[in-house]
Symmetry: C2
Subunit: 110 residues, 2 copies
Amino acid sequence: MSAPALKHDVFQAIADPTRRSVLQLLAQHDMPIVAISENFPLSRTAINKHLHILSDAGLVSSRRVGRETRYRLQPEPLAELKDWLAFFETYWHDRLSLLKDFVEKEPDPQ
Amino acid sequence: MSAPALKHDVFQAIADPTRRSVLQLLAQHDMPIVAISENFPLSRTAINKHLHILSDAGLVSSRRVGRETRYRLQPEPLAELKDWLAFFETYWHDRLSLLKDFVEKEPDPQ
DNA sequence: TTTTTATAACACCTTTTGGTTTCGTGTTTA
DNA sequence: TAAACACGAAACCAAAAGGTGTTATAAAAA
């Protein structure tokens, strides 16, 4: 019910460092493509492609204002990432606990 | 300091669904490659490649035990992901707060 | 010692990714 | 209306990703 069959998922979308930077930029405020492109050594077309991928993943929304298209950060899909991480955090903490026990009980294994 | 110039970063490593499944498998207990491969419709060689990528990202460690190589989950690098997410969670909560204010103050925008 | 098992290392192939340039379309502005 | 601007779409390209099968090597078992 929460995954409407997107072409690109959030894991894939954030795999690219350029796309992660774009998201950080958009976190500050909405921006049209030209403004975004100025922050990268890439063509406007390349940035446009990245925005499409981010859009497919539901991480940005776009809205035409006159002759420009303003992009906005849509952080909600990151919840999936958070949930996925939560699964491992239990193991993580368990491992740290185990390590703690080990260190406390066996000061020198040799 | 914390990023020892890895060939694959954690964002890239978890982008592939097969690799995410492998991590979930290894969360249960250490496993050699054959045991891992049995859970996927892929060749052992393909799984081996995925394990190398996970290893490059520091997400698994390997240890030879006789003639088999046991892989173990190493969840610590996921902290980078968690930190990255934390940055957006502030915006996230701010947006939800704004939405809440909007709904409370303007029952019907039309 | 021979055979089987577990894996690593190659060589190779196909698809996807990330980038480019070019061209077309709609929107301001002069 | 003409020029400048912002963007989308298409064609193209190189490199990386993801997969295969084959071969080599070391350990365990027969």
